[in-house]
Symmetry: C2
């Protein structure tokens, strides 16, 4: 954490120049009887935009099946030279695996461009919701003029709730920090990890900042921070077709544009990490059916990749996740998951602690179990946030991975069990 | 399937020269109140042995944490030049992550060797059950003389039930086949995929045959067949510390020893595949909390590895597994899991069918969803065995992967939920 960095309200509207709006336009998902009862919010479409042209960067799903909005956003940013002004995003329909998907995604951009009087390729588009269902475009055509008219500096919440699917809480985070005497802001909103029939696994994340930074360094920073935040998040190991993280930088903070790996670039990356790590944590905590947040911190690794691989291996273990649901101090499952992590290290040096607000216990030392009080373990595991501290004791690098427990509700939500 | 290969009874005693025995010796698992109620069987230790010295081969867990029995069996086979006469195996305690584990595993071999008058290094040892709990050796010392005395050609069932942990059914399979006019037999027993506190994920598999084959070709055949059977099985993605597959060949069928890649080697491998694929299928069907067997067949791949990777990716998807529990024809999740499979192929050529005894429906054609009758889909998915047929349409290779649905009971069994 950078000195003088502090949490602020405002989400995607925290940075200077960014306005947002959101509304319910009526994108209905047909043929799913129980759909509406799972929806915890009202808005289904949002827009946010900057007063000026922004440098932009994005990271997309690695799934070979890519949603139409992914393809269109990627093409737009290429065409615009990584410049963007506005983002339009809807929930309830992912516009993926449809023959007319790209046309519809392009039309969404065209509608915003026309209404705002901006180039179409400076519009980013995202959709989340059911895949393989035709996106109804008429409600969106009707909504865009309202969305543009309603754009306001304080309406981040209208947007943050519009991208929710089965998310139970909206996810926003923003920080204020200083670069060369100029006050900068960086904030974001995210959705994800709740899903119902047939597939809403998508993680969407939108970041805005008023820090001046070139598109190239914006992309570099985003790539580096995604690797240690979103890519260290696992709810169930499934990678969605529509995952996207985008970032827009307005430059309105007035600092000299960052375009080298100088000290200001480091500060910017720290701010980006702070926001994205907190959003990642929120996503994990609101994972499908989750009752507990799991945070695994692997220290003492010979390199960063080893630390990431080991931490993720534990977070992804269904056995360990189920044990945490049962509040069972099952160190054998932690050690087992460390043991099958696809990295090179000496298992006989590994120590493992389990920790929460109620205390810490060492469950494994030098790769073997150690005696501990079952009562104390039960007390520690009764908390909502559980930390698994792994020390490989063979280097200086560390990494964190986030996940959640595996619960009856996960099976229920995803089984869409027809009683 | 080789012409003239047929299923026979007898499990590990189907091949000439192999005797077995099993008993309850009293290996108690301490400190786990609900342990016994999960146990569906009585025996906790077994022995099987051949009238003659066998060529032997084995494949072990790839987990860095390896159970003591794994280390001892590996050392023994190295010392004996891949020869073995007897196998001793216990359930209820995995003898893993204990300081005295290797000593105890060696003592188990020594006890059998002394009682039978055979070299200690010709004994294979395996344990499955709780890890990180000291193995009580006294009950085993007391049981070995009885086990040796009771060895009998017809007692395969006594052994097959002794290795069960939370398995709900015993798993045996055997075939008869012909090599150059000689009748050969190959059979096996397996356990696995049921687990309770804290870790019983182990898959054990023992194969015996009277076919004459060199240790080298026995190992080659085992490596090849494990790759397309056990390594294509996933219940929850967790790799145990004690997994082991061993095979012993007595040569008593009287055929000329197979020691090249000739036609007889091919017949032998077909027989081994038949037995191991059927045991794998039984393991999947009896997976933790499973209500349905899932069998994914990927055809039309440019190479074998691509077919394996794609089929396994579908079988490992928690989202898809939960959908199958809910009998929900969720083609989007199949396509999503195919899309993130770590292999190179063109997603736009992929077709997917769902199939069972109640019929077949095409749910995906050329990488996009197609309309289908929800009623017919529900009817198909109401069966206990579901087949997912994938055609990549870009080559001639195929592979099968086996798994099971993700159910409330999986979470319950592994959460050890303390109500």
């Amino acid at each position: 954490m950078v000195i003088n960095m502090k949490f602020i309200e405002g989400g995607i509207c925290a940075a200077k120049g960014f306005k947002a709006s959101g509304t319910y336009c009526g994108i209905k998902k047909p043929n799913i009887d129980n759909y509406d009862e799972n929806i915890k919010h009202k808005n289904d479409i949002c827009l946010f935009a900057c007063d000026t042209i922004c440098n932009a960067a994005a990271v997309y799903t690695q799934n070979k099946v890519k949603g139409a909005p992914i393809l269109v956003t990627k093409a737009n940013l290429e065409k615009s030279g990584n410049k963007a002004i506005a983002v339009i995003a809807n929930s309830k329909n992912a516009n993926t695996c449809n023959a007319d998907g790209v046309d519809k995604a392009n039309e969404m951009c065209a509608l915003v461009a026309k209404e705002m009087g901006i180039p179409q390729e400076q519009v980013i588009v995202a959709s989340t919701g059911v895949i393989g269902q035709i996106l109804p475009i008429e409600p969106i055509r009707n909504a865009v003029p309202t969305l543009v008219k309603d754009l306001d500096y304080g309406k981040n919440l209208e947007a943050a709730t519009a991208i929710m699917t089965t998310d139970t809480v909206k996810k926003e985070y923003a920080v204020e920090f200083e670069i060369d005497g100029k006050i900068c802001h960086l904030g974001g909103m995210a959705k994800g990890s709740g899903m119902i029939h047939p597939n809403m696994a998508t993680t969407l994340n939108f970041i805005t900042t008023d820090c001046a930074i070139s598109s190239e360094y914006l992309q570099n920073a985003l790539n580096d921070i995604v690797k240690v935040t979103y890519n260290c998040l696992s709810i169930d190991g499934d990678t969605s077709t529509n995952d996207m993280v985008s970032i827009m930088a307005s430059g309105l903070a007035g600092n000299d544009e960052i375009n080298s790996e100088n000290e200001y670039y480091t500060i910017f990356k720290d701010a980006l990490y702070e926001v994205m790590a907190n959003l990642t944590r929120m996503l994990a905590k609101d994972g499908e059916g989750a009752s507990k947040l799991l945070e695994c911190i692997c220290k003492g690794a010979k390199d960063k990749d080893t630390a990431i691989i080991v931490a993720k291996s534990v977070i992804c273990s269904s056995l360990f996740k189920a044990a945490m649901f049962g509040e069972d101090a099952n160190w054998g499952r932690v050690l087992c998951a460390i043991g099958y992590a696809d990295a090179e290290f000496d298992i006989d040096k590994v120590d493992v602690d389990l920790r929460s607000d109620n205390g810490t216990i060492t469950v494994c030392k030098d790769g073997a179990g150690v005696a501990f009080s079952e009562d104390k373990a039960a007390d520690i595991l009764s908390c909502d946030e559980i930390y698994i501290d792994i020390n490989l004791n063979q280097g200086e690098e560390s990494a964190t991975a986030w996940g959640c427990d595996l619960t009856y509700d996960y099976v229920k939500i995803n089984g869409d069990y027809r009683t």
